[in-house]
């Protein structure tokens, strides 16, 4: 694009030599395009499932009939991203509830593809309430599992219906 601009400038100079009695100005916007390939990809390996071990509890624990939510981060550039994962704090959709539910959740490293570079991810993570922050210092894949337990206030029963809660996983550049 820069070469194209120089050519136009030479053309203008030629015209200026021939037309000496008049002057004019021209402006041109030249775009510079670029494509950045993502070096941090997030994929859901397993969507969690709530089990219902009793009337007032929903749990993703396998012992309660639930399934953990597992999300995978694929990083091709080391020490460039943080993985920030937040366990659910509310239902995104649910029947009308008789009371306020209480959420408990946690995220841990489930598996890694590099024991040397990723083995200490779990030990080095930073927790902010329901949010866990991991420093992705090695290239490769890391699997994070998130658990969630919901208890209805006053030990009231959950009304029948579909309940959905969201785990938010983000890859933030450092």
């Amino acid at each position: 694009m820069i070469k194209h601009k120089k050519t136009n400038l030479l053309g203008l100079l030629g015209v200026a030599a021939l037309v000496t009695s008049s002057t004019f100005a021209q402006a041109e916007n030249v775009p510079i395009n670029g494509v950045v390939q993502s070096r941090c990809i997030i994929q859901t390996d397993n969507a969690g499932t709530y089990g219902n071990p009793n009337a007032y509890t929903l749990s993703t624990a396998s012992s309660d009939g639930g399934e953990l939510s597992i999300v995978r981060f694929d990083v091709s550039l080391a020490s460039a991203y943080f993985a920030i994962i937040t366990a659910p704090t509310d239902f995104s959709s649910s029947p009308s509830l008789p009371d306020v539910p209480t959420f408990v959740g946690d995220t841990t490293v489930d598996a890694v593809s590099d024991s040397t570079g990723m083995g200490a991810y779990e030990s080095n993570k930073i927790e902010y309430g329901f949010t866990d922050k991991y420093d992705l210092t090695a290239t490769g894949s890391t699997w994070f599992k998130t658990s969630s337990t919901v208890t209805m206030g006053g030990n009231k029963a959950f009304p029948g219906g579909n309940y959905t809660a969201l785990v938010v996983a983000e890859c933030i550049a450092q």
């Binding site: 490293v109 489930d110 598996a111 890694v112 593809s113 590099d114 024991s115 040397t116 083995g119 200490a120 779990e122 030990s123 080095n124 894949s141 699997w143």
Partner: protein
Amino acid sequence: MADQALRWSMSNVLPSPPGLDIQNVIYSYKIQKETGDWVTVYVQNENANGNGYIFREVDEWRPGSLSGTQINKVIGVGDIPRSLWGDGSIEVDGPGSVYDANVVYTYKVDPCFNAQFDPNCPGYVRPMPAIYEIDLNSLYDVTKDENVDLDRSGTLEQDEENLEENEKEKEEKEEELKRKYRLEKAMTAIDASALFVESTRVDQMNALAQLSVTQQGYYAASMAGGVYNDTVVLADAKLPDSKNGLRNGFAQQLLHQQMIDMQYNLNKTKENN
């Protein structure tokens, strides 16, 4: 193919056809250790054709890594022939252990590794049956066995009879052929004669036809003119019957009458008797 044990034989894991190459090793396990410990885990396969390992991957679990963490790895090995892969194992060095281990080998098989496997393979050569050469001298020959007393005279007589029969059959066949040949020659001569006669007859007919045409066409026949009177003169006005003929007629009649009379005479004789 996978094996859940920490040591496994490749013969129990993979088939061993020629042309099988291992492409990738995929494994996973969970580490059991104290957070402050340093544990090294080796996932490996021995070299079947020598010392050392054909494949060895090292995982270092340094202090800070938590127990229960799983590792998932995919290692490309680049098409190593199956025959080079010895027994596999997971070896732990340090105060720790592994569990829930799983090792998977991905492989490919070249169906034309040996061109003779399939007629569609390039370079396939149609197999020829093996013909064994036998040393005839090594075979047992009863006629050469000194311990066997053979009745050689009987065998010779049998052979002579067979020879005579064969000779007769041969002579009969030759004679049959000769007969057929002679008949064929005779038929050929007859045909030739008939053809010759027919040809001669046609020639004669042609010659006659040619002669007639020649006389009528090329010679002028002339006859003298005048009157040619009849020279026959009948002197008597009446022609009498021939007496010889009359006599002959009477004689015939007499004989006829005698024959009839004889018939009657015979009848009369029978009536009288």
